[in-house]
């Protein structure tokens, strides 16, 4: 089977590729929007806590050491 034969899908190219393109756009769009949401939340959170002088949310918790004297 050649590539042009593959892409033509026996004459059903529009329907087959239309379906898969729809799925790709919908699921890909979901991932992209979710990444944006996550990014803006992280930013928002770190600027807020930085303003309060607190550590960033996505950083590894540091052991709190307190000097005795």
């Amino acid at each position: 089977m050649s590539w042009s034969e593959f892409w033509s899908m026996g004459g059903y190219a529009f329907y087959v590729w239309g379906s898969y393109l729809t799925a790709l756009v919908v699921l890909g769009g979901e991932v992209v929007l979710l990444m944006k949401r996550q990014k803006s939340l992280r930013k928002h959170n770190s600027t807020e806590s930085a303003a309060r002088g607190e550590p960033r949310v996505d950083s590894i918790p540091q052991p709190q050491t307190r000097s005795v004297n």
Binding site: F6, M9, G10, G11, Y12, Y15, V16, G18, S19, Y20, T22, A23, V26, L27, E30, V31, L34, R37, Q38, L41, R42, N45, E48, S49, R52, E54, P55, R56, V57, D58, S59, I60, P61, Q62
Partner: protein
């Protein structure tokens, strides 16, 4: 280890963060394998030609739409009955992914219907009940976003989600109960499936891929929801991974 520990958003947040990459990688691999089997291993159908290959995305998407609805209603119900806020957040997170899979199943169904039935859409029992499923998801999402108080939004959503569950068996059995244009189930719980092994394999692999994808995406969104709702909580400021 107490599993209840992870019912608290503070404990669940870092755990979800560790799990997400594994689900995402596994989903990507299975999508690649499933599409390979579906397009290069599975033979051309003698009746439908290559148009039947739409099945590999249409059927998993339709199943995910129904299964995620049941899961959403389950979590919404648990969150309502036991006042478990993480469970309610899970329901809100599932709703969007479930709605998107239902949308994919409707659109790919139209793309499949046109060459095989000669029409994009008919008001047949299965398609109408699937459209109602999409409206139920949309109703759940918009109802929740219309109420400012999170816990009240959770309760209202739970009522809608639980009442709507009745639609899922209607979709599933619609092809048996009514005389419809839509074909019957290809895979039956009892008895042999009515398709060739590579076709079945491609469909099941892609179904697994859709499951793993859903878990990854739902967990990412759940983490976002936790951050949004618990912004004032002290555990966030203490620096969770």
């Amino acid at each position: 280890m107490r599993l209840y520990k992870y019912a608290s958003p503070a404990a669940f947040y870092p755990l979800a963060g560790k799990l997400i990459p594994w689900f995402a990688i596994a989903a990507a691999i299975l999508f690649a394998v499933g599409l390979y089997v579906g397009f290069f291993v599975a033979p051309t159908d003698f009746q439908q030609g290559d148009a039947y290959r739409i099945m590999f995305i249409h059927v998993p998407a339709a199943w995910m739409g129904m299964l995620l609805y049941v899961l959403m209603a389950f979590y919404a119900g648990i969150g309502w009955a036991f006042n478990a806020r993480l469970s309610s957040m899970m329901a809100s997170s599932i709703a969007i992914t479930g709605a998107l899979f239902t949308l994919i199943s409707l659109v790919t169904g139209a793309f499949w219907g046109k060459p095989t039935w000669g029409t994009w859409w008919v008001w047949d029992a299965r398609m109408t009940s699937t459209l109602i499923l999409l409206f139920l998801y949309a109703g759940f999402i918009s109802l929740q976003s219309a109420i400012d108080d999170y816990r009240r939004a959770d309760r209202a959503g739970a009522v809608l989600a639980l009442v709507g569950v009745i639609n899922v068996p209607i979709i599933y059995f619609s092809v048996q109960w009514w005389n419809t244009l839509h074909q019957g189930a290809t895979i039956r719980i009892l008895g042999k499936p009515s398709i060739a092994p590579p076709m079945l394999a491609a469909m099941l692999i892609l179904l697994a891929a859709c499951w793993l994808y859903s878990v990854a995406v739902v967990l990412i969104r759940l983490r976002c929801i936790i951050l949004e709702r618990e912004q004032t909580a002290s555990w966030l400021a203490e620096g969770a991974a």
